[in-house]
C-alpha cells in the first residue's frame, strides 16, 4: 500500500517534486507534501468546499481529486491570490465586508468565487448565489460573504 510514485505538482506557478501513493488526495498532497496549508480540509467528502482550489481555471474540491490526477495541471491555492503585499480584490472585499469570522472556510470561498468569476464575469446574482451555496460556512450566516463576492465581482468586471 505504500508504493509511492514521483510526481510534480505545479502550485501557484511553482513546481513541487514530491512522491505520493496513488490514493493520496490532492488536498493532502498540497498540504502535507507541498506545505501549503492555506487549503483546508473540512469534510473529505466533497460537500463543505473548504478545500476548493482552482485547477486549470476551474474550482475543484481537492479532497475529491487524487494528487496524481493533477500532474501537469496548473493548481492555484489561496496562497497565490495576493500580489505581494497587495490583497486580491476578492480578499480585500472579504475584509471590507466582514465576510469571515473564524476564517476556516474562507480560502475555499475565495477560490470558489475567484474561479467562477474569472470564467463567468457576468454571472447573474442568482446564479452566483447558487455557486456560493455549494460551500459551507458556520460563522457568518453568509450574507457578508455574498456582499463581499458581489462587490469583488463588480471590481473584477472593471
Amino acid at each position: 500500500m505504500t508504493d509511492k510514485s514521483p510526481l510534480t505538482l505545479t502550485i501557484n506557478g511553482r513546481d513541487h517534486a514530491i512522491a505520493v501513493e496513488a490514493r493520496r488526495t490532492l488536498a493532502d498532497a498540497i498540504r502535507e507534501d507541498c506545505g501549503q496549508t492555506g487549503t483546508h480540509i473540512g469534510c473529505e467528502h466533497g460537500i463543505c468546499g473548504a478545500c476548493t482550489v482552482i485547477v486549470d481555471g476551474e474550482p475543484v474540491r481537492s479532497c475529491l481529486m487524487f494528487a496524481v490526477q493533477a500532474e501537469g495541471r496548473q493548481i492555484r491555492t489561496v496562497e497565490g491570490l495576493a500580489d505581494g503585499e497587495t490583497l486580491h480584490v476578492m480578499q480585500q472585499a472579504f475584509m471590507d465586508h466582514h465576510g469571515l469570522q473564524c476564517g476556516f472556510c474562507t480560502p475555499g470561498f475565495l477560490m470558489l468565487a475567484v474561479g467562477v468569476l474569472e470564467r463567468e464575469p457576468d454571472i447573474s446574482d442568482d446564479d452566483l448565489l447558487d455557486v456560493l451555496s455549494s460551500n459551507l460556512c458556520r460563522c457568518t450566516g453568509y450574507q457578508n460573504i455574498i456582499k463581499a463576492v458581489r462587490a469583488a465581482a463588480d471590481e473584477m468586471r472593471k
Binding site: R23, T37, L81, L100, G103, F104, C105, R138, Q143
Partner: protein, 767 residues
Amino acid sequence: MGSTPGMSEAKQKIVGRSVARLEDRPLLLGQGRFAADVSFAGQWSMRVVRSAVAHGKLRGIDASAALAWPGVHAVWTHKDVAHIPPIPFRLTGLKELEPYRQTVLAKDYVRYVGEPVVVVFAADQYVAEDAADLVELDIEPLTPVLDASGATGPFDGTHATEPSVIRKGYGDVEAAFKAAHAVVSLALSTGRHSGVPMETRGAIARYDEGRDILEMHGAAKVPWWNRDHIAQMIGRTRDNMHLYEGHVGGGFGIRGEIYPEDVLVCAAALAFKKPIKWIEDRREHLIAANHSRQQQHNVRAAIDTNGRILAIDNEFFHDNGAYMRTHAATVPDLAAAMLPGPYRVPAYRAIGHIRLTNKTPSGTYRAPGRYESTFVRERLMDAIAAHVGIDGVEIRRRNLIGKSAMPYDLHLDTLGTHIVYDSGDYALLLDKTLAAAGWPELKASLTKRRAAGEKVGAGVAMFVEKSGLGPSDTVRVDVKSNGKIEVVTGVASVGQGVETAMAQIAADALGVDYTDINVIHGQTDRIDTGSGAFASRVTVMCGEATRLASVKLRDRALKLAAELMQTEPGALDIINSEIVRRSGSGASMTLAELAQARPGELSAEDTFLSSHMVYPYGVHIAAVKVDGETGAVAIERYVIGYDVGKAVNPRLVESQIAGGLAQGLGGALLEEFVYDDHGEPLSVTFADYLMPTAREVPAMSILITEDAPSPLNPMGLKGAGEGGANPVGAAIASAIDDALQRPGAVADLPVTPQRLARLLKERPGPL
C-alpha cells in the same frame, strides 16, 4: 470632557465603532495556523478505533494484525490507560453524576457508536487508518436505550438511565393552578443537533524531554482549565504542561472541552517521547464530538382571564447520550433556570430529568438550554394567546417584566450564580423591533396573500440571554521597546473577533491606535490563569479587565513620563502613542522612547471580578412561506432586535447575531442527528446532516440597541454571542403556525420538509 477640550476631541473614541478586524489578513492570505497545520518532525499519527455498536459488552480486542502492519508503532486499549481517571466535570458537576463520566478508552462496555475503544499510532495518517481497520472488536450486543422520556431502568450492568433530576422553582405553584382561570398544556420537543464547526477537532502533543515540558497544540475555549486537568489526569502539574491555541475554526460551545483524544495524545507523547498528532475526520466529528439540544418538555401554564401567567410548571427529559461529559448538568440546569425569560411568572417549577441513552454524549451548544426553553416558553405564549383569543404580540406585552422592576431577582440559580436581570426595557425593544419589521403592514400583507391561497405567516419570539460569566479575568498590558502594545489575556478566540474588540478597548484607555496592539489569547505559558471563552463572557469580563489594566498602565506611563519631562502627570496626556503636554506646547515623547528609557517598567496587570452574570435580551420576528406540496419552509423576512448594553464593535456584534441566526435556522428546519432502532447514527456525513447554505439563510435586518447598559461593569457591556441563535426555533414555529393558520401546529423541532409535509397531509386545513 477633558480640561483642554480641543485636545480631548482630537482623541476620537474607537469603542463603539465598526473598525476593520485585526484578525483578517493572515486568514485571507492562507497563513492561518489551525490544528491540522501544526506538525512536528518525527510525529506519529493517532487514529481512534470506535465502537460500531451502540451498546454492548466488550469481550475482547484483537489488534495483532494492526500491530503487524508496516508503519504501525503501537496500539493502546483501555488496559494501557487504566491509570488515567475519567474526564472531570468543568461546570455544574453534581456529585451523583460522577459515576457516569467517560474514560478515555472504553472499559468493559461500549455505550454509543463512535466511542473510542482502541488507538493506533503509526508513521502517517494513511497507515494509521489502514491499521485501524484491522482491529477486531468482540462486542456482545445489548439492547440500546434510545428514548429519554420513557420509564427509568437499568442502563447496563453498572448504570441506571436517570442519574439525576434537576429541580428548580419558587412560589406556590399548586395554589396558582388551583386558582387559575384556565390551564394551557403543551408537549414539545427540540431535536438533537450541535455546533459542528467547519474545522474538525485536532490535538497535537509534544514532549520536550530536555525541558521536561509537555505541550498540547490545538487547544481552544478553555486552555487553562484543560491544562490543569489534563495535567492532573496524566500525573503532571500545571507548571510543566502548556496548551497552545492557534487559529480555531469555530467553537460554538462544543470545541475546546476535554475529550478523550486530547488526553490520549498527551499521554502518548509522554509515553513514547514522540510528537503525537490527531486530526478528527468529519464522520468522527458527527458521532464523537458533543451533541446537544435534544429535550422533551411537558409544560403547563396557569393563567387568569386576561391571559396573564399565574404559574408555569415544566417537566422535561434531557437526552444526554451515553456519558456525562465536562458540562455535566449544565444544559438541563440552564434550560430550567432560564425558562421564565422576559415574563413575570409569579410561581414556577421545573423538573428536569437527566437521562442516559446510547447516543453520542452531549454538552453545550450556543445558547445551551435556552434555545430549548425559549422554544418551550414562546410556544406556550402563543398557545395562551390562542386560548384567550388575542394577538401573540399583545399576550407578550401583557406579561413582560417592566423596566421599573429592574434589577429583577428571578429567585433561581444557575452556573453557581444567582439570576438577577441587571437591566432591561423589554417592551421598548419589542416596540422598536416591531417598528423595524413594519409589523402592521407585514401582517396585513400576509393576510391578503393567505386569502389568495398562499401559506405565508409571521411570528414573534422574545427572550432573555445571559452573558459575562465570572468569576474573574486577569489581563496584563505592556508597552514594548518599539512602542507596540501587548495585551496578554486569559481568554480564547474561536473566531469571533476577540483581538479586535480587546484592542479597541485598550486603545481608548491608553491613547494609542488599535492596530498597534497585539492581543495574546489561549497561551498558557504567557499568563498563569485564564477563564477562557464561553457563555458570551469574553467582551464583558476580559473587556473590563483590559480596560482596568490599560488605565493602570496609562497612569504608570504618565507618572514615569512626568519625572522625565519634569512636570506633573496631570499635565500630560497620551495621544496616538505620544505623551504630550495638555497645554499643547513644549516637548513630548513617544511611548517607545519612554519604554526604552524605563525598560520593563511599562507594564500593568489588573483583574476584574464579577459574581453575577449580565443579561442581554432580544426579539426575533420571522416571516415564512410554506410550500404546501413539499413542506419546505422559505424565510421571507427576518428581523432581530437585540440590546447588548454597549456594542464595542457594532459590526462584530451584528455578525455574531447573523451567524447565530444561521445556526438557529439549522436547528429549526434542517439539522438533526437521527438514529435507527439499533442506535446506529444515520447523520454521519454532510449529505445526511444538513446545515444551512447561502440559499437557506435569508438577508436579515439586525437592530442593535444600547437602551439598557449593564450596571455591573463601567462600560455597560453585555455579551452578544448567543442572541442570534436563542429564539430562532420559537420564531420559526410561530411563523409556520401563522402560515398554516393552525395555532400549535409545530410542536417538534426541526420542522423538516418531511415532517411538515406529513403534518399537512395528516391534518389538512386549519384546526
